[in-house]
Each structure stands twice: as structure tokens, then as C-alpha cells.
Amino acid sequence: MKRLVLLIMLLAIYLASSALAASPDEIIQKSQTAFFYPGKDFKARVMMKLISPNGQERVRELTMLRLNTGEAGGEQKYFMYFFQPAEVKNMTFMVVKFPERDDDRWLFVPAINMVRRIAMQDKQASFVGSDFTYEDVSGRDLGDDSHELVKEESLNGKECFVIKSTPKADSANYGYKLSWIDKTTFLPMKEEYYDRSGATIRVFTADEVQEVKGFPTITKRTMKNLQSGHRTEVYYSSQDYNIGLDDSLFSERFLKQPPKKWIE
């Protein structure tokens, strides 16, 4: 009888602990939802500073609009309007993100009033010349990596899961990634990218988190390339969720003439 009680107790403890401790896949899924999918839609005025090792700065200023057209982890639409540099002022860029296949991308070139699709299959290509990739901006497909909980530790006073994500097959140009994921907000506080020999190549840090309409939001972030010494700092000068973006915005008409109320 005592043995049976012990067995039931052990079983209960096991069940309780496994219910509390999410699997690495679940942690990553929650993190992706918190990082790339909060709200029905999102708008931010984004300032990017591209800083070379010798300190030269280049600025990219844009408004980014995002609409979730599917579930978390599913299809999304992105609309970007560029204010700076002057060479690309009034340029707009639209991405329809599909989780399982290549994104569709359109670019509007104001100087010749032309909207074209552009071929950009590489999701790990640099976003507008910065140290961030397209994947860093809009997320990586969950199924592309296998995830492993390495440890749990505190980072800058925040309790974090540390997850190791290893790309399956040749789906990435790096070996693996370590992510420090805040246990409360599920936002990544730090990410380290390693090459296949184990050397760190890029480091992401979330430098400021604000709560916006109940959604914890990283409003300041840095990506540093440790191999080149180049880094990119991004901050949002304004941001908002659930602003009522309409699907019709994501069209050739508005790429050419973006409505003021959405881009300013």
C-alpha cells in the first residue's frame, strides 16, 4: 500500500512538473508568438543606425506595418515606407510571408513610378544592408530548427530559458543559435549565433522593453556582427497595436501612394 501511494505521488509530481515546464518547442513557439505575432496588426516608426567598425553611421528610417492574416506562426503581410536616406525617400516595400514557402516581395521605385516583384529567396540576406536579416525582422519557420533546453538562468535580473536551436539540414548559414527567452514575456533578451566551428558570429540584444496595449514590446535592440565589428541599432520612436489595418492596404495602389494616416 505504501509503495502504491509513493508511486502515485511520484507520478503526480512528474505530471505536474511536466505540465509546468514547457517543452523547448513550446517555449520557442510562445516566443515567436510574443516577438513576431502580437496583436492583430502593428505599426512602428523604425530608426536603424548602421554603424561601421570605424564609427561611420548610416541611417534607415521607415514605417513598418504588419498585418497577421493567419494564426500565430502563419501568414503575415508587411508594408514598409522609407523616409531616409534621401535616395530611397518614398520607396515602399511589401512582403507577404508564407511559413512553408518563399515569400512574395514587391518593391515600388518612385523615380520611375514602377511596382515590381523582386526575387529574394534568401531569408537570411541582410535587411536593407543592416546586420539584421529578413528572418530577424519577420521570424524564422519553427520547423526549420530542432530546439533543446540547455539551461535556465538569470540575465540582467530576468529569469530566462536558454534554448539551443540547431537548423535542420542546410536551412541556415550558421551552425546553431542560443536564445535567452524571458520566462515572463517570452521575448528573446539575447541571441547568440554560432558558426559550425562553434565561434560566435552575431549577437542580438534586446536593450529596452515597453508594454504597449498590454503587449511587451522590444523597442530598442542591437545586432552586432562579431566577425566584422559592424553593428546595427534599432529603436522604435513610436509603436502601436490593433490600429485597424485593412488588407486592401497591401496593394499596388497603396505601394505607389501610401495613405498618410498609416505611414506617419
Binding site: P85, R116, G129, R253
Partner: protein, 416 residues
């Protein structure tokens, strides 16, 4: 310079109204200062000079808007050292009205249709080929049209309807600066006649477009004039005077573009209806044509993109054309086709752009090669160094006739 003053006056008046009007109006002023130079590398110009281009240019872009109205002016002031003159040009000047499911743009505007990369089927709007061959930035290949454009967005599809009451011809390379084939070089008494502006001569262009199964599909129609002039002599046997004029033309076409084969695939076709030579028996007017384009663009690695095109023009009623062609005139091929290759590599955080564009004539065995290096020194300052090299074919084929015009060019710009 085309009728700058009336446009400027009208637009300035509207600007004043906008400024004086009550309510929130916003303004922005941008532009650039540019130096643009091109040196001959094969031989001097026909006029003996050794430069295709030497100019400084300032462009101002003024935008203002108030409520549903917006206003845009893009104007250039250039100092041309070859002809030693100043040129003031209104590149664009428009007033826009925007409603929820329609909009309207009135004035001089650039319209770009179709999918071709430097080949045009349904982009029936005026081009400045001299700008391209002389080594100006690509945007100068397009000229504005003077007209009104309506956009209609009823939901099931989108429509553009353009009416152009004032004709604008293509601008071809200047005979003083470029070596070009001239079938009648001894006839120096020449005049150009443009269509007069009236209701009958108003050009109309229509485009309908929508998404079909993930592809961007467009249908096009155009009724107007050929922007490349036809020739008419006063006497077929011993001509003393040549008249250049613009025959009536209609174009009907379609295009589609979408993701396929690991890249972006483009298909475009058009039927060119030569309305004043439907039978094809007037050798001075281009016959009707079928034009088609297949394009493929793919990114092979980070910031390296390849664009390939096959483009063809098939002359209809070819038998009538050859039967009536005057002796001594070079005959065009029934099928004029070519391929193009564009390679683009961005480097150093996309501040360096290496590009190579080439046309290879399949039917005419001639070529154009355009390599270019562009560097953005800062967010404001960039420079591009490139070359235009031509050759092959015959002295009258598209690029063969440009054989002696090889040149290198420099573009530098300060954007603000």
C-alpha cells in the same frame, strides 16, 4: 524643353491655393545635385567632340498635400557644357485627388507599365533613349506624359485609364553626338510633324490588373501614335525633302508575373496594330507586330541576383513588306529577337553595387554591354562609374549602328 511655363503657372497657382487654404497642409522639399559626364572611348562624335555628356544638374522635388488633394513638382535645372546652355525642365508636375475607391492624377506624370527590363511592350509611354545611351541614371530613360490618369478600384480588379491630349515623342540620340544609321544621309532638308492636339488625337491607355492564383495579371490597351517616327520623302526616286511623322498605332497586350521555379517569372505579350499600314505594303511605316517577352529573375546567393530575358518582335505581313521595300534599303528580319542578362551583386552592407547588363541580338548578332560600379560614400553622396559598349551585327541593326559610340560615364550625386 516642353511647354514649361503654362504648367508651372498652373501648378504654382494650385500650390498658392493649398498654402492659403485653411486646415492642415504638409510640405516637403527634396532633391539632388548631380554631375554627369561621358567620354568617348572608340571614336569622336560626328561633330568632332569626344564627349557624349558633360553637365551639372539640380533637381527639386516639392510635395504638398491637404486633405484628399496632393501636389507634386519635380523640376530640373541643368548646365550642359557640350551645347553651352542651361536647360530648365519640368520632369513631373501633378495634382492628385484621392477618394476611397478611385483617384485621379492630372498633369505631367511618369507611367511605367509592363514587365520588361529595358524592353517595352505594353509600356507605350515616351522614352529618352539618348539619356540611356549617353550614360544618365536610368530614371532619365522615362519621360513624363501630359495628361490625366484615373485609378478605379471596385474590388474585383483595379483599373488605370489615361488620356493624353498632348503628344510626346520618344527622344532618340542626337545626330551630332551619336553615330547612327541614316538610310537617306544626302537628304538634309528635314521636318518633323507631330500629331496636333485635338479630341481625335487624344491618346488613351487602359490597364486592368488583379491577382490570379498568386500571379499579378494585367491586361492593357492603347490607342494613339507610334513614338518612333516614320519617314516620308517628297519623291521616291530623287528625294530632296524628308518628313518625319508619327503613324497611328494601337496596342493590345497582357502580362503576368509571379513566384515560380525558385525565382520570379514574367510573361508579357502585345499585338501592335499599325493602323495606317494594316496591309503592310507601305515600307515607310512599321508593319503590325506581335511582341513577346519571357523573363526570369533569381537570387543565387545573398545580394546576388540574375535576371534573364528573351524578347522577340515578329513582323506581320512580312511578304508585303519585302515586296514593297525600295531597292537599296536594308531589310528588317521577320523575327527580331534578343536575350538579355543582368547580374547584380551588392557588397559592403549594400553600399557597393556591381552590375552588368547585356543585350545579345539573336537575329541581328549585335550587342550592348553595360557594366557599372556604384558606391554610396555616405547616405547623401554616391557615384557610379560605368560604360556602354556596342558592336556586332550590321551598320543598320539596333546596336550594330551604335558601334562607334562606346563610352565610359560617371554619375555623381548629392541627395537631400
Amino acid at each position: 524643353m516642353r511647354t514649361l511655363r503654362p504648367w508651372c503657372t498652373a501648378l504654382l497657382a494650385i500650390l498658392v491655393v493649398l498654402i492659403a487654404g485653411k486646415g492642415e497642409a504638409s510640405f516637403s522639399l527634396h532633391g539632388f545635385i548631380q554631375g554627369n559626364y561621358a567620354l568617348d572611348t572608340a571614336s569622336a562624335n560626328p561633330d568632332g567632340r569626344d564627349s557624349k555628356l558633360a553637365e551639372e544638374r539640380a533637381q527639386l522635388k516639392l510635395e504638398a498635400d491637404q486633405g484628399p488633394l496632393s501636389f507634386f513638382v519635380k523640376t530640373d535645372l541643368a548646365w550642359d557644357h557640350l551645347d553651352d546652355k542651361e536647360v530648365l525642365e519640368l520632369r513631373e508636375g501633378t495634382v492628385d485627388y484621392t477618394s476611397s475607391n478611385w483617384d485621379c492624377k492630372l498633369g505631367r506624370q511618369v507611367v511605367t507599365w509592363g514587365l520588361g527590363d529595358l524592353v517595352f511592350i505594353n509600356d507605350v509611354f515616351p522614352k529618352d533613349y539618348e539619356a540611356f545611351f549617353a550614360g544618365r541614371p536610368l530614371e532619365y530613360l522615362k519621360k513624363g506624359v501630359d495628361g490625366v490618369k484615373f485609378g478605379l478600384y471596385p474590388g474585383f480588379a483595379s483599373f488605370e485609364v489615361i488620356a493624353i491630349p498632348l503628344f510626346t515623342a520618344n527622344h532618340f540620340p542626337d545626330a551630332q553626338r551619336f553615330w547612327m544609321f541614316d538610310p537617306l544621309p544626302m537628304v538634309t532638308n528635314r521636318q518633323t510633324v507631330e500629331p496636333t492636339s485635338n479630341l481625335d488625337n487624344t491618346e488613351v491607355a487602359v490597364r486592368a490588373y488583379r491577382d490570379v492564383a498568386g500571379f499579378d495579371v494585367s491586361l492593357y490597351g492603347y490607342r494613339g501614335f507610334c513614338r518612333q517616327p516614320a519617314m516620308q520623302t517628297d519623291s521616291p526616286s530623287s528625294p530632296t525633302r524628308l518628313t518625319l511623322w508619327y503613324p497611328e498605332l494601337a496596342v493590345y497586350g497582357a502580362s503576368m508575373q509571379g513566384s515560380a521555379l525558385g525565382g520570379v517569372v514574367s510573361l508579357e505579350t502585345g499585338y501592335y496594330d499599325s493602323r495606317e499600314d494594316r496591309a503592310g505594303d507601305n515600307p515607310m511605316i512599321s508593319n503590325s507586330q506581335a511582341r513577346f517577352l519571357v523573363g526570369y529573375q533569381r537570387q543565387f546567393w545573398e545580394d546576388f541576383t540574375v535576371g534573364l530575358q528573351y524578347y522577340g518582335e515578329e513582323m506581320l505581313n512580312y511578304g508585303e513588306y519585302t515586296a514593297t521595300l525600295p531597292p537599296g534599303m536594308p531589310a528588317e528580319e521577320k523575327l527580331h529577337d534578343m536575350v538579355s542578362v543582368r547580374l547584380t551583386q551588392l557588397l559592403r552592407h549594400q553600399t557597393v553595387k556591381l552590375s552588368l547588363f547585356t543585350f545579345w541580338g539573336l537575329s541581328s548578332a549585335d550587342y550592348l554591354v553595360n557594366p557599372e560600379v556604384k558606391y554610396n560614400f555616405t547616405d547623401q553622396i554616391w557615384a557610379a562609374l560605368g560604360a556602354n559598349l556596342y558592336g556586332g551585327g550590321e551598320p543598320w541593326t539596333q546596336f550594330g549602328q551604335l558601334d562607334h559610340n562606346d563610352s565610359i560615364y560617371l554619375q555623381t550625386r548629392y541627395d537631400f
